[in-house]
């Protein structure tokens, strides 16, 4: 079986978010890039399954400009075997899914993160399945493979569901798919140098959305400390200031 893990390149979660003058685009100056946390978990699970013999090789793919290569290189250092970068500025979910559809053919299992931690679009996985004409399962929090058969765990309201799904399939994964992302070992970092990172030209695809503007959330109010024996004051604050009671 062949597995493809989609990798989105996102700003480090501690990045101070700023927008450029017209508030229409994100200011990438001085930003540190990382693998989208959900994609990193997907890759971790793919590695575990590979180690258990379910896959021979793991391919990772990303739509992005050259700045995403260090993120792909990290995926290779963690343990992916080859990487594909579609050389384009990712515009919106449809645009990205259209690019990925060209490289995702022929894989049995495609793992997509439930969303990317930058724009929280949560659209690529489903659209990709549609464009490929294959099934997708969303909110996947567990994946097992026994003798080539997929057993998929989904979180549903108040419980969970276990499915058996045929391949090829796009699995849209969330927390739980793996426990903790792996830290690349030095050996992996050395080997990443020699692994293939193929850059391919984008296909024509229109974007379906236009960004009108961004807004930052209101600044967080300061934390108020209440003495432990002063429940009255706590209730007054919750009632009069926080207005939650």
């Amino acid at each position: 079986m062949k597995i493809l893990v989609l990798i989105s390149n996102v700003p480090d979660t501690t990045t101070k978010i700023r927008f450029t003058g017209d508030n229409k685009s994100f200011d990438t100056n001085g930003v540190q890039w990382i693998i989208n946390p959900w994609d990193e978990l997907a890759l971790t699970r793919a590695m575990e399954l590979k180690e258990a013999g379910a896959f021979e090789t793991i391919t990772v793919a990303n739509v992005g400009t050259q700045i995403t290569e260090s993120t792909l290189r990290k995926a290779l250092a963690v343990g992916a075997d080859e990487a594909i970068r579609v050389d384009a500025v990712p515009q919106d979910a449809f645009f990205v899914a259209s690019q990925l559809a060209k490289v995702a053919e022929g894989y049995d299992v495609i793992l997509a993160g439930i969303e990317a931690s930058d724009y929280n679009g949560a659209g690529v996985g489903g659209m990709l399945a549609e464009l490929l004409g294959i099934n997708s399962v969303s909110a996947v929090s567990g994946l097992e493979i026994e003798n080539g058969a997929l057993k998929v765990h989904r979180d549903i309201d108040g419980g969970s569901q276990v499915l058996s799904v045929p391949t090829p399939v796009v699995l849209i994964v969330q927390k739980g798919i793996a426990i903790e992302p792996r830290i690349p070992a030095m050996r992996g970092i050395m080997m990443a140098r020699k692994k293939p990172l193929n850059v391919i030209a984008p296909v024509d695809a229109e974007s379906k959305t236009e960004f009108l503007g961004f807004e930052l959330p209101a600044p967080k109010a300061a934390c108020k400390m209440v003495e432990e024996d002063n429940a009255k004051e706590l209730i007054r604050l919750l009632h009069e200031e926080a207005k939650v009671l």
Partner: protein
């Protein structure tokens, strides 16, 4: 001039940061309090390749450069200087010394498992009566034909109880003074070796420091490193490179304290505003930032020189002395910025301050570094 790091160097830095921020931070206070050796972390770091970072892949190391080493140690020491010193002694004293000066059989037998981090090593030079002045070794290694008979006491030995491999300096030809000293690879479980109690230290309490007694310890002849009488030169050349490790450790301690103080100064309010808005606090942070930047540049310059096979005698001494001294200053100010909270354990800065002190003492005190630097000023 190029100040950019390579993709690999950044990846190593990130890997070290991830490990430190995810794992070391969880039990650093508890281990420090109990003076407990970080066995689990040493094993994990070995698996990630951090214990033999610069050893060539031919001997099972990761083959990384010294610049990566500086970046990695800084990240580890930001959170846990005890783990950083274990890493530093194994990498830049033990592995480096063997890779550079041991013969092929010694490398196959000892360097490989050390580079894989399966076992760790210790470096035994200091004695009760010979610290800064290491030329006067009282430990003796008597030449008995096909083995040496080792007697004496080594003091302040990092990794003494956790290491399996010792590198021991001892005097063979007292009449030849420092030119009579030899360096040996000694298996820790050789009969005749006993350890003193775990030193009850001010800081870096989870690194194990002991004195080590040798009483009629037989060391096979083939375990001598280099020619007869090479030991002192060996120790000095190894320590020269080792200083980059301790300098980076000091840099990490300073950075850890600075980052905590900076964050705290933007949260803590006094007189109606965050204390960062009081200029004397902001200026302290400004001074700390400049010192850290200087120390970092000195460390990286020394590492770069080493990677480019140039002399690091002076650069290493400058990096070690400066980074250690500013680590003491920066951590002291970080405690000050934290006020009373800085004086209790939960806020980490008092621990960082205790840790900083050691960097001015071991692997050559700050005064000894100044001797090296000042002598170089008048040398042709």
């Amino acid at each position: 001039m190029n100040f950019d790091f390579t993709e690999e160097q950044l990846m190593i830095q990130q890997a070290a940061r991830d490990y430190a921020q995810r794992e070391l931070i969880q039990d650093v206070l508890e281990r420090e309090e109990k003076a407990e050796f970080p066995a689990r972390h040493v094993k994990n770091l070995a698996e990630l390749g951090f214990l033999g970072m610069m050893v060539s892949p031919e001997y099972d190391g990761a083959g990384m450069d010294s610049v990566s080493y500086v970046l990695a140690l800084q990240e580890i020491a930001k959170v846990d200087a005890s783990v950083a010193v274990i890493m530093s002694v194994n990498n830049s004293l033990v592995c480096y010394g063997l890779q550079r000066f041991a013969n092929e059989e010694q490398k196959q037998k000892y360097l490989k498992p050390l580079a894989r981090g399966e076992v760790i090593g210790a470096f035994l030079l200091s004695e009760p009566e010979a610290g800064s002045d290491a030329t006067h070794q009282h430990a003796v290694a008597e030449d008995k034909g096909d083995y040496y008979l080792l007697n004496g006491t080594k003091n302040w030995i990092t990794n003494a109880s956790s290491a399996s491999v010792y590198i021991v300096m001892a005097q063979t030809h007292p009449d030849k003074k420092s030119r009579g000293i030899n360096a040996f690879i000694v298996d820790k479980n050789t009969p005749g070796i006993t350890l003193g109690p775990h030193e009850n230290k001010m800081g870096m309490r989870s690194s194990d420091t002991h004195s080590v007694m040798f009483s009629d310890v037989k060391v096979p002849k083939e375990n001598r490193i280099g020619e007869d009488g090479f030991g002192f030169k060996f120790a000095m050349m190894v320590l020269e490179a080792g200083r980059i490790g301790i300098a980076s450790q000091a840099l990490g301690i300073a950075t850890g304290a600075f980052e905590r103080a900076l964050a705290y100064s933007q949260e803590r309010k006094a007189f109606g505003t965050e204390i960062f808005n009081h200029q004397s606090v902001a200026f302290k942070l400004s001074d700390m930032a400049v010192k850290i930047e200087n120390a970092r540049n000195l460390c990286l310059k020394a590492a770069w020189l080493k990677d480019n096979h140039q002399s690091i005698t002076v650069a290493g001494a400058m990096a070690k002395q400066y980074a250690a001294d500013i680590a003491m200053e920066v951590t002291t100010e970080a405690v000050q910025i934290h006020g009373g909270y800085g004086y209790v354990k939960e806020y980490h800065v008092e621990r960082l301050m205790r840790e900083a002190k050691l960097t001015q003492i071991y692997e050559g005190t700050s005064e000894i570094q100044k001797i090296i630097i000042s002598r170089s000023l008048i040398k042709e």
